[in-house]
Structure formats: structure tokens, C-alpha cells
Symmetry: C2
Subunit: 337 residues, 2 copies
DNA sequence: CTGAAAGCGCTTACAG
DNA sequence: CTGAAAGCGCTTACAG
């Protein structure tokens, strides 16, 4: 089967039309008779023709390449983002190129620009926390590179983005714990500088306020979204004279760490301590007991971000999209006793 | 900065040479004077020139695209594979395209061929368990598509591959448990049809045999590499009249499930039960207690698989590569009591 | 060691 | 509604 691939010329010949007509049919351009179109499509099928991306991009001066830029410690999150973005790119005859960045600040910007230059990308999808980098956005603007963002912090910038209601979700979770009778609810903050960290903290505070529970700084600890920080924070929280009856961590990895601390210290979950997370990552179902958490629509966020980018490449005006979340109650939370 | 990208013509003009000479320098072809080369390189830098992939591939009739084909439930495994393959592709001016397949058998083959046809891939990297599919390999051969495999089962096929010593590693882990004084060691088998599952079972048996411990079928349960199957299997094992003092699961996810079963049933780990896994996946460090496991060199396996493929594309003869593993002792295993 | 010409397979811009 | 020509930016094959 090492016969040469068929080209647009072969199809044109087989269908008895000019190559321009084949091109019209393949690109769904107007002004082709139904009958002509059918002939072309038949020839395409018969010859097992697949257009050459390189010829198309050379002629149209577009690469049909989209870059997905990420720097996220959670593999589950990243894989899900990839799935969503890939699905949308495939639909739009675009190819998705991955780029995991290492550095921050200037280095990050240089890294991403080098990636874009080398591959001649048409556009970029930027995932959190990179979607918050003002320097990166400025650099991309300067180079005229279109991009869309997932969960950005700057909502004023003129580029499309998609997000969820982080503050609202955290408020719901806190209200849920309050509803179970908890009054001493601790909170483990996410990585500093992540917009989501701030929003989730805000939601936690808002829910307490709504119930007139005074905010207790002692019950709030800084984490960094990693398992270990949740473990450390919970160890401190559980040795407090008046220890909390519930811990709400700003993501599942830290909540898993909090569970581990409880196990270490012989604190029964959920009998003596409720633990809640955020993300509905795979780890929320692999720990014991399984975590009550907020389902973040990661796949849909990425699919939508890709969709917004492709639309922007077609010249559509940017419009923000907000996606829904969901509280998932599992065995790690229970009534306060 | 929306000025036109510079082309090979711009560079040739700036350096005062023909475009063919620029091409020679950029592709490290012989027969260019040091001095000429320096002039060209200076112009490349000055103009911030980056060759066009589409022009290059159109002219050379290669796409410079490599596909990574996978179907693995573990995100951590997949991300690590991507990292390794990406690193090697980047070095070789190739782009890596992801393709997660859904089906098996005929559907799988059709799916992968469609992917290759649409993207005009130069070659494929096939990861386990897909690397075991005889149908897929036959189809790729028929279409003249080069590929390399990670951890294949058919070692006779004429295509490059890289693997590790699964049987040897499982034998080591079993011997380690025997060394801790365990005599009733249970084993949870991986997904049926995975070559690695068979090899790891073989290693377990071999280690028992070496110590003249009779093989007890009751202590061996079928799993499928997922957390849940480890949970189920361990529940059964722990209700056996003579329950095992150690459980060795063929991967970390199942070992994590076994840990959960122990927690449920109030069996202390490692005091009353040792649990060991395989892979050194992230989950091995997020469960309690952290898992003793085998470090699988996933990144290196993928890097090497990409390397072998790129070499094959240059016409190098295929040669198999075996990479080392490592037993990592953590807190989930202890002396038998 | 260097270069001029042809051509890869499409789309763009234009003509009819 | 359809087509002929030019050209995108490189590499190949060849000449010198």
C-alpha cells in the first residue's frame, strides 16, 4: 500500500472538474452545484483523499496549529483539559500542540513566545494559573498572537475566556457544612497568586458571614494546592485547643492531605471531622473516605476555550462564557456531633 | 509587530547567498564554508527567522508529525509518557500529536488509521496496552507506517521497541516481602490481556518458588488495574480463614484499593498487613501509608520510544532497548509478625 | 563549495 | 456556478 497519496489533482481529474472546484467543495464554499459537489465527494471517497495540511497552510498562510499551554501539578486536571481542547480542535481541522512551561514571569513569556515562533502557531489556549499572567498576555498581544483563556483573573482584557463561579461554589460548600451543623469550619487556602485561591477564600468567608459566624483567622491556613501542604495545614489545625469539626480545602489534593493528617492523629472521618475538597479530581475517589467536593467542569472549560479561540480566528468578537459547577456529597462529610 | 514573518528569501538576501545555501546551513548539510555558514546564521538571528514547517514538509514530502497513541486509565502515567515523547520530538524538530483511542480490535485499528491518514503522520509511538495489538501492528505495516512501541508483547516483530523487566521487578518485590518474613503473600493480577500482567504474575511465582513457598491459588485474585478491583480483591483476601500478611498488587491503583479495604476492615497497615504496588505513580505517595512500589521509568521509556522512531525514520535498523527499574520501600510494608 | 530551476499541493485573486 | 494562473516557502535533483 505504499502507493502515492492522492492529491487534489487526482481528485479533480477523477471528478472531471478543476482543482479550484475540489477546493470549494472541501471547504464548504458557496457556489457549487449540488451535482458537481456529489461528483467531487465521490471521487474523494474513491481515492481515499485527505488534503495535505502543509499545502493548505503554505497557501493560506495559516498553520492550523493551536498551542495548549499549561503548568499545573495535577495530571488529572491536565489530561482532562487536553481531552476537551483536542475534541474541539479535531472538529475544526486544527491540530493541537502541547506545551508545558517551566518558569514564571519573564522566563515564562520567553518560553511561550519561542514555542509560538518555532511552530508558527495560529493561536494559544492558556490554562490556569498561566491564564493570570499579565506579562504573558501583553507579550502575546504585542506579537499579534490570538489566545483564549481558562479561568483568568483579568476579565477586562480583550480576549475570549471561559470560567466557572469559584466564589459561589466555595460559598455553597461552606453553606453545606454549616447545614450539617458545623460551626468551627477551617479553610485551607490554595496557592498564593492563583486567582481561584482568592475567590474560593472569598466564598468561604461570605458563607460564614451569611450565617453570622465570626471569621476566625486561626482556622485559615495557607496551602499551595499540593497534597503535602494540606497535610501540614491539617496537622496544625487538629492540634488547636478548639479544633475544627470540619476542614474545607481549596482543592482535592490538599483535602486528601488533610485526610492523611486525620488518619495519623487518630481522628475519625467523618465522625469527628468532616473534610471537603474542590475539583472532583480522581484523587477524591481514591482516598478514604471518598471526598465531598465541587465538580469543576474541566473538560467543558477546555472545549469551550478551544471553541472561543477558533471562533476568534474566524474573526468573531470575543464573548466570555461561564460554566456551571456541582457540589458532590460523599462520605468524608457528616453531621457535626 | 504584525510585520510579515521573514522567509528563507529574506535570509538569503541578507546574507548575500542563494536560498539553497541557507537551507544547507539550517539542515546541517555538508559542503558549506565556515565563513558562509556564519554569515547565514547571523542573518537568521538578525531577522528572527524560523523555517516554515509547512513549506519544508510540502517540499520534502514528510509531515514532521509524530503521533502518540494511548489508551491508559492512569493520567499520571499518560502525562509522563507525553513528557518523555515531547522532549525527544522537540529535539528533532518533530511535532507530537496526541491521540487517545477508545475502542479495541478492529475499531481501534480503524481509529488509528483514520488519525494517521488525516494528519499525514510520519510515524507513531504506541503505548501499552495498545502496543500489544497484533491487528494494529499488521494494519500499520500494510500501510507502510513506521512505529515504535513501549512495553510490547511481540518481541519478534521488526519494529523498534523499549521495555523494562516486569517479571524481574515483580520477583524482586516478592523477594523483598519474603525477606521481611512474610510467608502468606497474596497477589492481585493486572488487567487480563495486558502482557505486563502476565509478566508480573510470573515474577511473583518465580520468587515464591525460589524460596520453596508453595503457590496458593486462593491468594491470587484477578484485578483490572483499577482502584476498585484492588478494593474488591483485597476484601476477599482479608476474609480468608488464613488471611495473607502481605498483598502485592500489580499496580499502584489496585494497591491503593487494597489499602482502602484494610482501612474499612480495621486491619492495620503495615502492622497487620503489608501492601505493595507497582509503577511509583503519584497515588503511591498520596495514600496512607505511602506505598512500597517499583519505580517504572515511564518518562525514559517514552523518550526512548520517540528516539527509536526518529532513528527509524532516518533509516536506522531497529534495536530493542531495556531500561532499569527500582524498588522503592515506603511505609506500607513492614516485618511480618 | 555554491547556485538556478522546478515542483511539492494547496489557496488567493481574478476572470468569465 | 466554474476555472486558469500565480504563488505560498521550502527541498530535490542537478549543474558547475
Amino acid at each position: 500500500m505504499s502507493t502515492r497519496r492522492s492529491s487534489i489533482n487526482d481528485v479533480a481529474k477523477a471528478a472531471g472538474v478543476a482543482i479550484k472546484t475540489v477546493s470549494r467543495v472541501l471547504n464548504n464554499e458557496p457556489n457549487v452545484r449540488q451535482e458537481t459537489s456529489a461528483k467531487v465527494l465521490a471521487a474523494v471517497k474513491r481515492l481515499n483523499y485527505h488534503p495535505s495540511l502543509s499545502a493548505r497552510s503554505l497557501a493560506s498562510r495559516r498553520s492550523y496549529l493551536v498551542g495548549l499551554v499549561y503548568e499545573n501539578p495535577s495530571a488529572n486536571y491536565t489530561i482532562e483539559v487536553q481531552r476537551g481542547a483536542l475534541a474541539r480542535c479535531r472538529e475544526g481541522k486544527f491540530l493541537l500542540l502541547l506545551h508545558e512551561v517551566a518558569g514564571r514571569g519573564e522566563e515564562l513569556t520567553r518560553d511561550v513566545l519561542a514555542f509560538a515562533n518555532q511552530t508558527h502557531l495560529d493561536g494559544l489556549i492558556i490554562t490556569p494559573p498561566l491564564s493570570e499572567s499579565v506579562e504573558l498576555m501583553a507579550a502575546l498581544d504585542e506579537h499579534g498572537l490570538p489566545f483564549s483563556r481558562i479561568a483568568p483573573s483579568d476579565l477586562k482584557h480583550r480576549s475570549p475566556y471561559v470560567d466557572m463561579d469559584d466564589a459561589g461554589a466555595a460559598r455553597e460548600m461552606t453553606a453545606y457544612l454549616l447545614g450539617l451543623g458545623h460551626r468551627r469550619i477551617a479553610f485551607i487556602i490554595g496557592r498564593t497568586g492563583h486567582h481561584a485561591s482568592e475567590l474560593r477564600l472569598l466564598g468561604y468567608k461570605a458563607a460564614l458571614k451569611a450565617q453570622k459566624i465570626p471569621f476566625a483567622p486561626d482556622y485559615v491556613r495557607q496551602g499551595d494546592f499540593l497534597f503535602d501542604s494540606g497535610l501540614q495545614a491539617a496537622r496544625q489545625l487538629l492540634t488547636l485547643p478548639k479544633r475544627p469539626t470540619a476542614i474545607f480545602a481549596a482543592n482535592d489534593d490538599m483535602a486528601a492531605g488533610a485526610l492523611m493528617a486525620a488518619h495519623e492523629m487518630g481522628v475519625a472521618v467523618p465522625d469527628e471531622l468532616s473534610v471537603a475538597g474542590f475539583d472532583d479530581a480522581a484523587i477524591s475517589r481514591t482516598v478514604w473516605p471518598p471526598l465531598t467536593t465541587i465538580r469543576q467542569p474541566t473538560y467543558d472549560l477546555a472545549y469551550t476555550a478551544a471553541d472561543l479561540l477558533l471562533q476568534a480566528l474566524e474573526g468573531a468578537p470575543p464573548k466570555p462564557v461561564r460554566l456551571p459547577h456541582q457540589l458532590i456529597a460523599r462520605a468524608s462529610t457528616g453531621k457535626a456531633k
